[in-house]
Amino acid sequence: TQLLEQSPQFLSIQEGENLTVYCNSSSVFSSLQWYRQEPGEGPVLLVTVVTGGEVKKLKRLTFQFGDARKDSSLHITAAQPGDTGLYLCAGVVSGTYKYIFGTGTRLKVLA
C-alpha cells in the first residue's frame, strides 16, 4: 500500500509567521498536487508539481517537489488568517490515474 505521510497534522500560528508543511512517501509519484479544503466544501487544487526538484510559487506559497519525486513541501510566508484551512497533498501513482492523498494538515492562523 502506498502511503503519503503529512506533517504536522495540526498547526496553530500567529499572523505574520512562516510555516512549512511536509509530504513524504517511500514511493515515486509521476506528479504531486496540493489542495486546500474549507469546511463543508471539496478540496480545491492549488498547484501541481511534475519534475523532480521543481519549485512553484503562488503568491506567498512556495511548493517544492523532491529530486527523487517522493516528497514535497509547502512553505507559507507571512501567514494570513485567510490561509486557515486543511491542506492536502496528493500523489499520482506512476503509470495510473490513481491518486493517493495524505492525511492532511489543519492550519489555523490567528489574527
Binding site: 506528479s31 466544501e41 487544487l45 496528493a90 490513481k98 491518486y99 492523498f101 492525511t103
Partner: protein
C-alpha cells in the same frame, strides 16, 4: 468552478439498507472518482472510472459498487450499508490529458450517516 453536482448532499439511513449516491458533471471529462473522507485518514479512493462502463477499484472498494452508463453520471452504491460506511463522500473529475499532470476538481460532498 467545474460543473460537478453531488446528490444528495446529506442522507441518514439505517444499517442494511441500500444507498446510491450520484455524481453529475457538465464538463465532459473522461475520468471520475469517488472518495471517502474520514478523520485521520484523509481522502481514500473507493472506485474510479476512465470512461463509460470502464471502472476500476481503489484502495477501499469493499462494500461499494459503481456504475457509469453515460459520461456525465457516476453512481456509487452501498448494497447493504454498515455503520463503518458513515463518512463524507466526494466525487472528483479530471480531463483527459497527460497522465502525469491531471488536476482533479471536486464536488461539495455528500454527508452520509448510517445508524
Amino acid at each position: 468552478d467545474a460543473g460537478i453536482t453531488q446528490s444528495p448532499r446529506h442522507k441518514v439511513t439505517e444499517t442494511g439498507t441500500p444507498v446510491t449516491l450520484r455524481c453529475h458533471q457538465t464538463e465532459n471529462h473522461r475520468y471520475m472518482y469517488w472518495y471517502r473522507q474520514d478523520p485521520g485518514h484523509g481522502l481514500r479512493l473507493i472506485h474510479y472510472s476512465y470512461g463509460v462502463k470502464d471502472t476500476d477499484k481503489g484502495e477501499v472498494s469493499d462494500g461499494y459498487s459503481v456504475s457509469r452508463s453515460k459520461t456525465e453520471d457516476f453512481l456509487l452504491t452501498l448494497e447493504s450499508a454498515t455503520s463503518s460506511q458513515t463518512s463524507v463522500y466526494f466525487c472528483a473529475i479530471s480531463p483527459t490529458g497527460d497522465y502525469s499532470n491531471q488536476p482533479q476538481h471536486f464536488g461539495d460532498g455528500t454527508r452520509l450517516s448510517i445508524l
